[in-house]
Symmetry: C2
Subunit: 294 residues, 2 copies
């Protein structure tokens, strides 16, 4: 397996899916639909939708059956970034090396584009799996749960509170990362497995892998924020320490943070090994995540 | 039929449903869940969820089967108000006679509470109609469409653009009201009818009634903004004229605006008469809407 070629193939499918499954930029109101596309087509790693497609492929889904689910997840991820970048949240001007949505448009348009992407995610699932309502409902329940007040949004809320609280604990940090980051990665595996009609043990193993990978992803983010430059990251580096934010690095130090990431990586790979399918791409991807430099 | 008693009964069911179907205030993160409840339990007319329940009752659904759908719609309505009140949108301090969410909490919490209510609406539908996936998927598709970038959010976007544009036309105003207001009222009828397993002609007639009633509701809002006091409205009055906003009143004058509202009211009542059920409550409600003073 040529990992880089596989990744390139999957990312290209995601990019095509995004273009296909978003409303046209000139649909009324054009400003709103242009802003939705601006943020969705800003590039980025496409980790979550690639995981949806790669997981569905484990179960023989090689056509475009999983594409709407992959795009839906990226819509939710992108909406969360747009709202997270707003002045009342992280107040970030730069995202993926480009002006954030509220800088490129304005705050109101960015707010509404985020709202619209979140809503569109559910519309995509409800509209594209109408031939199998049982599947559609399961996908919708999975996404609504992962994106909800106890998970993604809950993680963002606790993250904000922790920023203002110098005494945030390891337990707080665990809640934040398990929900702010890992919920969407776990959902990527679950959505792919559901489209692939995987059995319960496979779905359970993939959820474990998703949670572990999500945690690794976040720990590496914390490490990179502390060690890399803005130019390499394509976003402002060193923000966490500057803000006095509680991170894995602040809480445990660099070496221990790296140790936890290694441990979770091995746990994820062990979980993937329990799935009776060719998981080489996902295993390599997991190893790549801990080695990434941006 | 005692209209006031019926309305009281339905509103009480909605209030109970909201308490039942929202996450507990002390669920982590408590601040987020408290904010969600603060905005959802601020009272208000409960027009949309009452319409869901009343429409389902037309088709014999007198138990709580339609309640999650009613609460889901109110979640979407409330999220749209929270985001609409934010400083980057209408910047309103008062809603239903109480401080708006960003005043009672802060901007970030209000933003996230809105996001969470929107997401929760879909979770409610996906979770509470699992015994009938066909129904669940249809409800989810209906809500995602009505709340989406071409309808509710699209209407809000065009509304914002029209505020900055003194030359907004009757066509712009039509788009705004058909989507910003009428989409959710139409969805109320559609959700109730879907839960009631209504046939296609009944659903179609109810959609017409919903669109007309939504338009009446908005025209009366415009009239009240121009003629009533803040004390009576429980929100800032006279904002439209002050902002130079294009409204039915500005575009057509008071008398013609009232005439359009009367015409749409009669159209809605004619549509309701095409449904083979006891629509007296809905007909009276329609007449009450045009007579309301706040």
């Amino acid at each position: 397996m040529d990992f880089a070629a596989e990744m390139k193939r999957l990312v290209a499918r995601v990019e095509r899916g995004i273009d296909l499954h978003l409303p046209a930029a000139d649909a009324r109101p054009a400003r709103l639909h242009t802003a939705m596309r601006y943020s969705m087509q800003a590039g980025g790693k496409r980790l979550r939708p690639v995981l949806v497609l790669a997981t569905a492929e484990l179960f023989g889904i090689t056509d475009d059956r999983a594409l709407p689910a992959a795009v839906a997840l990226e819509c939710v991820h992108t909406y969360s970034l747009i709202h997270d970048d707003l002045p009342c949240m992280d107040n970030d001007d730069l995202r993926r090396g480009r002006p954030t949505a509220h800088k490129a448009f304005d705050e109101a348009t960015a707010l509404l584009a985020g709202d619209a992407l979140l809503t569109h995610a559910f519309a995509l699932l409800a509209g594209n799996y109408a031939d199998d309502s049982t599947l559609a409902r399961a996908l919708l329940a999975e996404l609504a749960d992962a994106a909800g007040s106890r998970r993604l949004i809950g993680g963002q809320m606790e993250d904000l509170l922790a920023e203002k609280n110098a005494d945030a604990t390891a337990d707080d940090l665990e809640f934040i990362h398990r929900n702010k980051t890992a919920a969407m990665i776990e959902a990527a595996f679950a959505l792919g497995a559901l489209v692939g009609q995987a059995d319960e043990p496979a779905i359970a193993a993939l959820r474990v892998a998703g949670r572990d990978i999500g945690l690794v992803f976040q720990i590496v983010d914390d490490i990179l924020d502390a060690t890399a430059s803005s130019g390499v990251l394509g976003k402002t580096a060193g923000k966490d320490a500057q803000a006095g934010k509680t991170t894995y690095v602040k809480l445990h130090g660099l070496a221990t943070a790296r140790g936890i990431a290694v441990e979770r990586t091995e746990s994820a790979i062990a979980a993937l090994a329990r799935v009776a399918a060719d998981t080489r791409f996902l295993t390599t991807l997991t190893r790549e995540l801990i080695a990434r430099e941006k």
